[in-house]
Amino acid sequence: MTIATDAAGQTPAAGSAETRTPILRARRLVKTFGRVVGLDGVSLELFPGEVLAVIGDNGAGKSTLIKCLTGAEIPDEGEIFLDGRPVHFKRPQDARAAGIETVYQNLAVSPALDVASNLFLGREERKKGILGSVFRVVDQKGMRQKARDELTALGISTLQDVTVPVENLSGGQRQAVAVARAAAFGSKVVVLDEPTAALGVRESNQVLELIRNLRERGIPVILISHNMPHVFDVADRIHVQRLGKRAATIRPETHTMTDAVAIMTGAARE
């Protein structure tokens, strides 16, 4: 069976992983762009409560893989399962509706709107009664309170004033808002695309802390990153993508950063 060989061959020291059921599973995804092969039969498993990093060189198919998982691209072949059920995302909204939240590299926050409005953007809650149902008035007070609770739950203590426009926040705080939005709505999976790429050391650490908090709350995370120290810092398992294929899935305990880079560049085979 393909899955078995996949798992056995590419998830060393993951004996327990085989018995668990993945919350998100991609099987043999193929995606071509004209004559360019973006994904060449890639499989991926994300288990409950883990941080799975996806690394790979430019053009290795990281972004395409993530886009297929989050509905931004439709794979030519292969299947995606969420909670064991096959899913077919046609738009990012489909993936979100199914519980896969993505934090994009460009953050996707609206700078002029305040923190609470950004957290609830696109899914505003309305007031109860006639004000909400007929006049469609949003429940600003309630949303602000929920925003505060959510940020506290994520351990973002520096961001208690949810009425501040997002453009007045630092890069790390904006990232925190974007992550909080992804985690806030009962999501099953949070996908973070290069969340530390534009941040300084201190802010990067805050974001890594945030990722750990997500894991503690039982939300599995897929983390795409170029930054090896960050990946090895927070990831439970690391999916290495190379030339449109999964080169290996390794663990930080059993492999070093040098090993990972070697697999990534093709200097070593797992």
Binding site: A108, V109, S110, P111, L113, R136
Partner: protein, 346 residues
């Protein structure tokens, strides 16, 4: 008098941050203006009223103030439509032309075709919505820049108006009373107001509430702020844009009704200056041409500022060309201030 607090500073980094936060008075003013963009036009309006009041006794005369509000009513109404569109980072050069077309449709269908006034107004609303749908369709489906779209539809609507009306003005006396009702006056505390002015103010209240209190309002800002972010947040950008152009069309129908009352006529040659004057009011009111920032209250202040300047300079005995000159200066200053405000501390 320094009191030592019991809690020591937690770390050097916190201290450094606190130090960086201590901004200069100027940048603090800028931050406040940034958060409340209607403050600067409010200050300008108050100053202008004081200065013109000192220059000429007649300026603060109730009759004169009433005149200013009436002169502002039509452009103020159109400027609401313009604000909605500019908030989405668009622009509409055709608002005046559409309004005139609507006013001719209302007048012709009731006077020439003898339809009831209510039906005439309804047809005017339909024409406004159709014009908005047309602009909105070109912007959202053909992905043309709003500037180009409305530059084109400006000519189209002007031509349609003249073709449809044959260039003839319809006098208010020939129309059913309902159509000129917006010109009727009532008195509050010695100042005469027209129904049209009241309707304009009501429109501001309603649109301000919608923008502030509904999800649609937030989405308008989000789309103007960053359309890609809005899309990724699950907002249907095209639907919001189209709804904004439709809402603008409906507001223009109200503007046409007010215009008929104000001038006591429907003239196909009126309102050419309103296309740009509405943009002037929005810009002076502190709404950013880059979208996502501004309020309709700022626009009302902007419209009042233009009205006060024109009226005040005219009472001061200056040539009408100097009024135009002053409005030009106001626009440039307003945009320059907007640019400065947008450079908030990062």
């Amino acid at each position: 008098m320094t009191q030592h607090t019991t809690e020591p500073p937690t770390s050097a980094l916190d201290l450094a941050e606190e130090f960086l936060d201590r901004t200069t008075p100027l940048s603090r003013i800028r931050n406040v203006l940034h958060r409340y963009p209607a403050i600067s036009p409010a200050i300008v309006l108050v100053l202008a009223v004081i200065v013109f009041g000192l220059l000429n006794d007649r300026f603060l005369n109730p009759a004169n103030l009433s005149l200013i509000t009436q002169q502002v009513a039509v452009v103020g109404t159109l400027a609401v439509a313009q604000t909605l569109i500019i908030l989405t980072a668009g622009i509409d050069l055709s608002v005046g032309a559409v309004m005139v077309l609507i006013s001719m449709v209302i007048a012709q269908t009731t006077v020439q075709m003898g339809l009831p006034a209510v039906l005439g107004l309804f047809l005017g609303l339909v024409v406004g919505l159709a014009a908005g749908a047309f602009n909105g369709f070109l912007v959202t489906r053909l992905k043309l820049p709003p500037f180009i779209v409305t530059l084109g539809t400006l000519s189209i609507f002007v031509a349609l108006t003249l073709l449809y009306s044959g260039g003839a003005t319809v006098r208010g006396g020939e129309m059913p009373e309902l159509l000129t009702a917006m010109g009727a006056t009532f008195n509050i505390g010695g100042v005469n107001f027209t129904v049209g002015v009241l309707m304009m103010l009501l429109l501001y209240v309603v649109v301000a509430l919608i923008l502030q209190k509904t999800a649609w309002g937030r989405h308008v800002y989000a789309v103007g702020d960053d359309p890609e972010s809005a899309r990724l947040a699950g907002i249907s950008v095209n639907r919001v844009l189209l709804s904004v152009y439709l809402a603008a069309g409906a507001i223009l129908a109200l503007g046409a009704w007010i215009q008929i009352g104000r001038t006591n006529a429907a003239s196909p040659n009126a309102g050419a200056e309103l296309n740009l004057d509405s943009i002037t009011a929005v810009v002076i009111g502190g709404t950013s041409l880059f979208g996502g920032r501004g309020t309709v209250w700022g626009t009302l202040l902007g419209a009042l500022i233009v009205g006060v300047f024109r009226n005040g300079l005219s009472l001061a005995g200056l040539d009408v060309l100097w009024q135009t000159f002053a409005v030009g200066v106001l626009i440039i200053v307003a945009v320059a201030v907007d640019q400065w405000i947008r450079k908030v501390r990062k």
